[in-house]
Amino acid sequence: MSLLTVSGLTLKMQKRTILDQIEFTIQPGQIVTLIGPNGAGKSSLIRCILGLQKYQKGNVTIQPGARIGYMPQKMHVEQSLPITVDRFLSLGPKSSKDDRLAALQRVSVDHIAESPLQTISGGEQQRVLLARAILNKPQLMILDEPAQGVDINGQAELYQLVQSIRDELGCGVLMVSHDLHLVMAATDQVLCLNHHICCSGHPDEVTRSDEYISIFGPQKIHPMLAHYTHHHDHTHDLHGDCQHEGHPSDQTMAKSHSHTEGQKHA
């Protein structure tokens, strides 16, 4: 049985069709990335799956008893509420102090456990939210734009982190992302959403499909593919230094970097 099965899901809001006949499944250990332009219904789909949004037609079936870890989009923390990172985590699934420290350690932010939630950086905040999502050792993780507001190096790191957590827990992952190029390496399947699922499959296939190109434009294919290989070549550590794993020539790297720059301005 699949971990998550979505079939014929249709959502209408104020007579507009937000989601149209959505079908897909997630298996244990599989990372599925949902991409699509702004307003494509990505967050609505997540809300339907989590049971936060009523929909008109279709079914969402989650394997009975499966633990779910959810990471919302960026969080606004009210200044008037004094709270430490550790206390914030303790509001989530039942956990001991050691569990929480272990979760923070897993996402490499254990040094801020006792810091006020308001004083941590955007990247740290995303990691804290991720720590809260893995606190109950979930079988299904649902991450809504986990890398939002994080710089490019940080994003790549975060996606690698998601991938390695998946490897450890063997959980299925549904992840939302704006664009594909950074997530590609960490994804088994891509669903391209624009109210309906316009194409799906392995990241390589999707980027070559006509539907994908019609939404994201052809000019983005090459930089993305370049970036894809680039991310298999090396990683960035916390200080942003390159750590080479393969044998890329300096020339290729320079090229892929310039492509990323170009894409950012496009």
Binding site: G51, S80, R87
Partner: protein, 265 residues
Amino acid sequence: MPEFMLYALLGGLGIALMAGPLGCFVVWRKMAYFGDTLAHSALLGIALGLLLEINLMLAVTAGCVLLATSLVILHSRTIAMDTLLGIMSHTTLSLGLLVTAMMDDVRIDLMAYLFGDLLSVEPFDLYWIAALSVIIIGLLVKLWQGLLSITLQPELAAAEGYKVQWLQWILMIMIAVVIALAMKIVGILLITSLLIIPPAIARVLSKSPEQMAVIATLFGMLAVCSGLAGSWFMDLPAGPAIVTSAGMMFLITHSLVRLIQGQQN
């Protein structure tokens, strides 16, 4: 100490006990205007209570609870919450004034309701305050995690299984009850300050939400004691005396904290 003074003191302390933690949520969730709206509607409750000849505190409590509920129901995407609150606040206040104006045979002392009247606190009110303090503190302890969760991140709380709307409604009802109970002691126009000032003092002194709730309660109680003392020894009106002493404490603590932080830097 005369009996009425003892009643006022006990009643005031009971209210401060509830207002501390609930006031924290008012501050965290930016609900000050909500408090004002409920307070303004209290006059309508008083008028209707006099008209129907039922206990005023019961009438006001019922009125506030009803208003809080109707706010939840009327709340929609097309009208912003502050607009809705503005409409309800002034409509209910005006309606209250109209009803009182139409009652020829009853003379009511508006000033007493607007600014509080210690002499009006009766033993029955005290039982009422005691019973509701127990219920509200019990509810707060039981629902604390959930209330904090929906305040920090409602989406996450909902995904983790908390009933967000139900918790919001319970919170509003509890605030409505405290406002209704505090009416006799501090008065309609000053109630919100009792909810806001003690948490605002506590904020700079606390590192956790629980600490803030406890410190706010203590400062609320201190304000009630010093205000009533001022009323007793200097013949000041009680409501304004309580609120003024809370305001002074706010100024003093914030100045001191600034001063200490300034020296550290």
